[in-house]
């Protein structure tokens, strides 16, 4: 397992921030609150790794901090009686559609256009999966079709939508540049680790 301090210096902080924001937005349903949580969780994580070295999965470490910050967020607003895992669990599925706000407008438009280009049967299939939350096996049972055929149809339909999605915003493999404050913190910490 990687050392946390080493991991932080190697980790794209902007990627972490983006991941935490996804987590938070899904639960909170509010972009500003999600950004606030992401900032706070990252700050706590960076502060924590300045202390004694710990060996654990850094992603899990930061995600755990984020979950606590989200629970804190709810507690501070009096939405739950106490800060517990239960409190976080209680609201975790309430606002899944908030994540859609993280998609660029162009991505949304292209996916919608690609969806309109699918046949009725494929749209029906995706609707059952994505809006009625059914598994392909459950869909197969409902549509009285072999599960494998349903999976293949779904895969082909999603490939067309994914092509439209990626065309709007190609996957960037390069590391994102972290914001100035985070870059400074990371550089300071890296120097400390080297020393």
């Amino acid at each position: 397992m990687p050392d946390v301090r080493q991991s932080t210096s190697d980790t794209d902080l902007e990627l972490l921030r983006s991941g935490i924001r996804l987590m938070a937005l899904r639960v909170l349903g509010d972009a500003d609150a999600a950004e606030e949580v992401a900032q706070e969780a990252l700050s706590r994580a960076v502060t924590a790794v300045r202390g004694p070295a710990a060996t654990l999965n850094f992603g899990a470490y930061v995600a755990g901090i984020a979950r606590h910050v989200i629970a804190d967020w709810f507690r501070s607003r009096g939405r739950v009686a106490s800060m517990t895992t239960t409190a976080y669990e209680a609201v975790r599925d309430d606002r899944p559609d908030a994540l859609a706000t993280l998609c660029a407008d162009e991505q949304a438009v292209r996916v919608r256009a690609a969806l309109a280009g699918l046949g009725d049967a494929d749209r029906e299939l995706l609707t059952l999966c994505y809006l009625h939350d059914l598994t392909p096996t459950e869909v197969a049972r409902r549509l009285e079709a072999p599960p494998e055929r349903i999976r293949q149809r779904k895969l082909r339909a999603l490939q067309r939508l994914r092509a439209a999605f990626d065309a709007a915003h190609p996957l960037r493999h390069a590391r994102a540049v972290p914001p100035t404050d985070m870059a400074g913190i990371a550089a300071t910490k890296a120097r400390g680790s080297a020393a």
């Binding site: 794209d12 990627l15 972490l16 991941g19 935490i20 996804l22 987590m23 999965n57 850094f58 992603g59 930061v62 995600a63 984020a66 709810f74 939405r79 739950v80 009686a81 106490s82 239960t86 409190a87 669990e89 209680a90 609201v91 975790r92 599925d93 309430d94 606002r95 899944p96 559609d97 859609a100 993280l102 998609c103 991505q107 949304a108 996916v111 919608r112 969806l115 009725d120 049967a121 749209r123 029906e124 299939l125 995706l126 609707t127 059952l128 999966c129 994505y130 809006l131 009625h132 939350d133 059914l134 598994t135 459950e138 409902r142 549509l143 009285e144 999603l158 939508l161 996957l171 493999h173």
Partner: protein
């Protein structure tokens, strides 16, 4: 497991889709979050799944009268359609303008709160007694329930009820089967029956799932009333009731 292989698994298991649609159990969800928080590819998959869901919702809103592919698919969507038709009819009768009809539709923010990840667990307990006909039918139906055959389980449980099986657990699992079979209206009715029968080990959860079923139908006020009907004995359950009530009020306010 190499990163490439782990991503192959992530795609095959449709983790991003299940994360977005709320079909992922808690431990699995946390493990996935632990991974994607440092994984650009998986974050992108989550965004893509969200975009698909949003596009489907938008398309569905534009073409609500589209002919379903099959009768089975039509029945899966029936509760939402019936609800919309009622709202539209009421608004027209009142002489509202078209824009008012749109505002009267159950909001997506409310219906999304009706999501339930996993069916209520059933743990059968063996007892030293001669099982009656109703009990045997109940056991058979719960085998179907445990394997996700909810429509079959519903029929079996209704038969068990008719054969004299204890109505509280039977109605509770009829509600759960209906909920996961896609009929929120029947589910709400079954859970309401359990609640109306008074204090029982099933009442708290019946209130919770009744509220969830009502939310799926867009009946936010009734869902709040269901949650407020009785205070749960378990403080953790009380916190969940409070959080959901608060979320419903906020969704309605939006």
């Amino acid at each position: 497991m190499t990163e490439e292989r782990s991503h192959q698994f992530i795609h095959e298991a449709e983790l991003a889709e299940r994360y977005v649609t709320g079909r992922m159990p808690g431990p699995e969800r946390m493990a996935f979050e632990d991974h994607f928080v440092t994984c650009a590819e998986c974050q992108r998959d989550v965004r893509f799944a969200s975009a698909v869901r949003a596009a489907l919702e938008a398309t569905g809103a534009r073409t609500p009268s589209r002919t379903p592919a099959t009768p089975a698919a039509a029945s899966a969507r029936a509760p939402r359609r019936r609800q919309r038709a009622l709202w539209v009819g009421a608004a027209m009768a009142a002489g509202f303008a078209g824009i008012a009809v749109l505002y009267a539709l159950p909001s997506r923010a409310v219906t999304a709160l009706g999501g339930v990840e996993q069916p209520p667990a059933y743990v059968g307990v063996a007892v030293r007694s001669t099982a009656g006909r109703g009990a045997a039918m109940f056991d058979d139906a719960m085998k179907d329930y445990s394997t996700g055959r909810y429509a079959v389980a519903t029929r079996g449980l209704q038969a068990a009820l008719a054969a004299g099986q204890d109505s509280i657990p039977t109605d509770f699992f009829i509600g759960a089967s209906e909920l996961f079979g896609g009929d929120a209206r029947n589910a709400a009715a079954a859970f309401a029956r359990v609640v109306s029968l008074g204090e029982s080990p099933y009442r708290d959860e019946a209130q919770w799932y009744e509220a969830k079923a009502l939310l799926r139908l867009g009946r936010s006020a009734e869902a709040i009333a269901a949650l407020a009907a009785y205070a749960p004995a378990d403080p953790a359950m009380g916190a969940r009731f409070a959080a959901l009530t608060d979320s419903v009020k906020q969704a309605v306010a939006r």
